[in-house]
Assembly symmetry: C2
């Protein structure tokens, strides 16, 4: 869906041109701000003509929408699809799903190669309502997936926790997504320490 | 600091004109996006001349900086100053400080009248480095305050928790600040339910 084969020779990047456009645009949006970056800036950074860029995307809003969609695809592939492959029929299996989700979601947030795309999920620029609804829908699907994992672990453990799966899922997604605000690769908290400590906080605090 | 007395009659709002400018600008920034809002738009919404607006703020970046500073002042006054008044010499006192911080920080995030200002703390627009550093400094001060509260409770409880005060503080600030992304006043999770459940997650999970 994100690939488009090059049909004839052209000066545009030949491999996965749409993906390359999305990544470059995401980087510019973060460096300069979304609105301060023009379609001309994006085209220039890619050494594309303006026409070449518009051949792929009709507007900057369309680019932002596809960056956000791509970020959700990355999350779905790297987190949900992997977690789903774990057999959750036992208590230990259900717990392992939740542990793996915490680990993989943190890895996506910290991943240097995906960060320029995934961080755009937090861009506050108001998209046109139809596009906005699609992104919100995918974010909600992710939240429901987390909520169901929590509910499953609580049920299998016969947990007496006061914390509802919904509040737990919102807290977890919040503490993980917030990492982009402060994380420095060379800071004192390593990615692995974060995984261990956030897992501890969440399992003790929310699963009961 | 945010007040400026009206010296001569003018068409500008007479009471706390700077605050009114900041609130109106914050609302416009959220509705239309920061970069898509011009100084002309801000002046028009306030029924100010462009000169009248520039009399108070030299640039849009200066307005954004002062909105963010004001948001930090609100947080410091409503959270830190109240929490500091609680005697923390006993275990129960130290715990009460932390409980109160969670409650008050959530209240600031949910407050309808402050929301238009406080949500701007999450605006991704890159401020000029000197202004940016000042805001980051205040955010760090807040984080250290939380970290110290956690360390104090862990110490007084002789906690064996694996969770460091720093990771705990980052997780807490993340889960609370993230609320602005999904909270609806008429949604199923009330503010009070949020306070109770987030307090439960944090105390069980991070304090040990």
């Amino acid at each position: 869906m994100l690939r488009e084969p090059a049909i004839e020779p052209r000066s545009e990047p030949r491999q996965e041109p749409r993906q390359e456009i999305l990544r470059t645009a995401a980087r510019l949006f973060q460096q300069r701000g979304y609105d301060a970056t023009s379609m001309n800036d994006v085209a220039a950074a890619l050494k594309l003509s303006k026409g070449g860029l518009y051949h792929h995307f009709e507007s900057k809003d369309e680019i932002l929408f596809h960056i956000m969609s791509h970020a959700m695809e990355i999350t779905e592939e790297r987190v949900i699809n992997v977690v789903r492959r774990i057999d959750a029929s036992s208590v230990a299996g259900a717990e392992e799903r939740l542990r793996m989700l915490i680990r993989l979601h943190i890895q996506v947030v910290l991943s240097p190669e995906d960060r320029e795309v995934t961080v755009m999920l937090h861009e506050n620029h108001p998209l046109p309502p139809a596009l906005r609804r699609k992104i919100i829908g995918r974010k909600k699907d992710y939240l429901h997936f987390v909520e169901n994992l929590v509910a499953d672990v609580q049920r299998k453990r016969s947990s007496q926790s006061l914390v509802t799966p919904r509040a737990a899922a919102l807290a977890l997604v919040g503490m993980i997504n917030w990492i982009y605000q402060w994380y420095k690769p060379d800071g004192p908290l390593t990615g692995e320490a974060l995984v261990v400590q956030y897992t501890e906080i969440f399992f003790r605090g929310a699963v009961g």
